[in-house]
Symmetry: C2
Subunit: 368 residues, 2 copies
């Protein structure tokens, strides 16, 4: 069978290899999971309790409107229920946004090497991605992104804030100025997957405008990555555009229930944020001990400088040999870093021991 | 913001209203749920146990390859892991199939009034749906579908077997002949959501050919509708086409775990199938008692004849007034039926009592 022109033209690649495949391929029965920025502190006990008691009703479809959750989110974000679209994680939100606004042959703009699923969707819907590199400090280059959006008349501009994989954070005033600087034909897709780790007072103020879609998730600070649930904050009009094509019954029933219970557990969230800050500090201290540096991070992961891209790749592979799974940025100038997710004290110790061992090996190889 | 031409042209409609919205709109705190063909017998206790013990690891993404589940499915269907694609239910599989094979402006063919999500996806991806009506016996008209596929050079032909909403079943020889009769440029998307209720010996034999995608689900006999998990059986080549654009991390982790455990519980499945047959028989007896007829069904629902479309709609609405939620087919010649899902004995009794009451009201109104 002949696939559509768009699908035929796509490469058969995979945006991310999962740890389960790495375990199959290396014959390991477990890994220290520090590669996908999953929360090592787990979901709220309230979320687990709520989901446990509802498992026996998993024969029921979830509410296709995710109404109870959207009501709670509307209260939290001081907006209307109609301005919220719940989907199967931010990946799903991004797909809807690209599908709704990028024509076949249309242009989207992003930072080269940022979270790759946006690029995946742009290609998957037949668009063309134009990129600019990170600055040498590892942040998105807002001026260059805006200039590129003007030059290409981009339909969608993607920005993750805080950024993944760099961890960089851009405060509200600079984001607002960037948004204002974009051309009228460009929608800003602001990926706020890690915003729960940032100071709320420094985040862009809530705005509900046609040219702005903000994406949030329960995968990170809320520890519900496996549930697949996230949402878009935007105008009612944009939400209705997504509504026309989204999988109406696509969100797992228990994910809705878990997310709603998690939203109500502020104490767990505060504890996760505090533990995550400790994890970042411990990675910074480790880097200092090892004579290297980290990129500043407002997320649940830290990039540690390995000097150059080949070394960073080698270190990542050597860590995997030692049972520690991390990832690394793929594009310069960040490709000389490894990226390690916040872990519990035990996971951090396993990572630190493995990294010390790997770097000692490197030194003994380099200076025999 | 201007959406893409395809999205702008779509109506702002909803394929199905969920029972939660009906409850909100009618102010009810519960409904007898007999409208979505959900299993009233619930998931396997083994699935519930497996999911319960894994809830605390829901901070982990599910395996993007759903490998363990695909291995079990490959053993069950005597095929390779590469010939199976796991997705968020059959709705997701259908979306991938339309996206991969129907160009903007391309043609798809289906029976008018069959499961509506196929039509939803065809419109959503900019295709055009051509339809033929059900036969007066409530079955798909295979000759007319094939002729239409030839006349329109359709990219995808959709057939649900057993069918929803009619419940009709077409045996293997007729399905095989239909498949063979289709033009070379048409792919058959065979929706087997309800196949677990049919006699395995009467189902189309496993075939893995480029022009055939079979879709299966854990939503019906396995009682995991709320988990959102289904799969495609097809060629490795087709699975790889879907792989290029699917949400790589889209399937809930606990859904994978629950489905795998459910597959291993043959006893629960056999019990559900047997209870479902009892439910069908009880609806048939009820129809007989009420002086009307049912369509033959090999599924977990039954269509009961209400005489004409207006009566059927009125009965459906009156049942809702009495706290019983069912649905009805929308297109002739099936629009004179109401469709009721298999329920437990208690749910069936609630339905029967409400239906007797509604029909008694009708008679007293009609002959005052």
């Amino acid at each position: 069978m002949r696939a559509t022109r768009v699908i035929e033209a796509l490469p058969a690649n995979t945006p991310f290899v999962g740890p389960e495949r790495l375990m199959r391929e290396t014959g390991r029965s477990e890994l220290v999971r520090l590669g996908a920025n999953e929360s090592p502190f787990g979901p709220s006990p309230r979320a687990i309790a709520a989901m446990t008691s509802e498992l026996e009703r998993l024969a029921w479809y979830g509410d296709p409107d995710s109404y109870a959750l959207r009501e709670a989110l509307a209260a939290r974000h001081a907006c209307g229920v109609e301005q919220i679209l719940v989907a199967s994680g931010i990946d799903d939100v991004m797909g809807l946004c690209v599908r709704a606004f990028v024509e076949i042959g249309g242009i989207a703009v992003a930072t080269r090497g940022t979270y790759p699923t946006f690029a995946y969707h742009v290609a998957g819907y037949g668009g063309r991605l134009e990129t600019v590199p990170y600055t040498n400090e590892g942040a998105a280059d807002l001026e260059a992104l805006s200039a590129l959006a003007h030059r290409t008349r981009a339909s969608v501009v993607y920005l993750a804030n805080p950024d993944n994989p760099s961890g960089a954070f851009i405060d509200r005033d600079r984001i607002a100025a960037f948004y204002e600087s974009l051309p009228d034909e460009s929608l800003l897709l602001l990926d706020e997957a890690y915003a729960d780790f940032a100071d709320p007072g420094q985040l862009l103020e809530p705005r509900f405008e046609e040219r702005l879609v903000r994406a949030r998730t329960f995968s990170k600070a809320y520890g519900l990555a496996g549930a697949r649930i996230g949402y878009a904050l935007t105008t009612q009009h944009n939400a209705e555009l997504f509504e026309r094509v989204r999988l109406q019954y696509g969100v797992n029933r228990n994910a809705q229930i878990g997310a709603l219970a998690a939203l109500g557990d502020e104490d767990h969230l505060a504890w996760v944020i505090s533990e995550t800050a400790s994890a970042r500090a411990s990675y910074e201290a480790l880097a200092h001990e090892l004579g290297t540096a980290v990129l500043p991070s407002r997320t649940n992961f830290v990039c540690i400088d390995m000097g150059n891209a080949a070394q960073a790749t080698w270190v990542m592979n050597e860590l995997l040999e030692r049972g520690v799974w991390i990832r690394k940025p793929g594009a310069p100038p960040l490709d000389r870093y490894i990226r390690v997710s916040a872990g519990t004290a035990e996971m951090r110790e396993a990572f630190a021991a493995a990294l010390r061992d790997v770097l000692a090996t490197r030194r003994s190889v380099a200076t025999p």
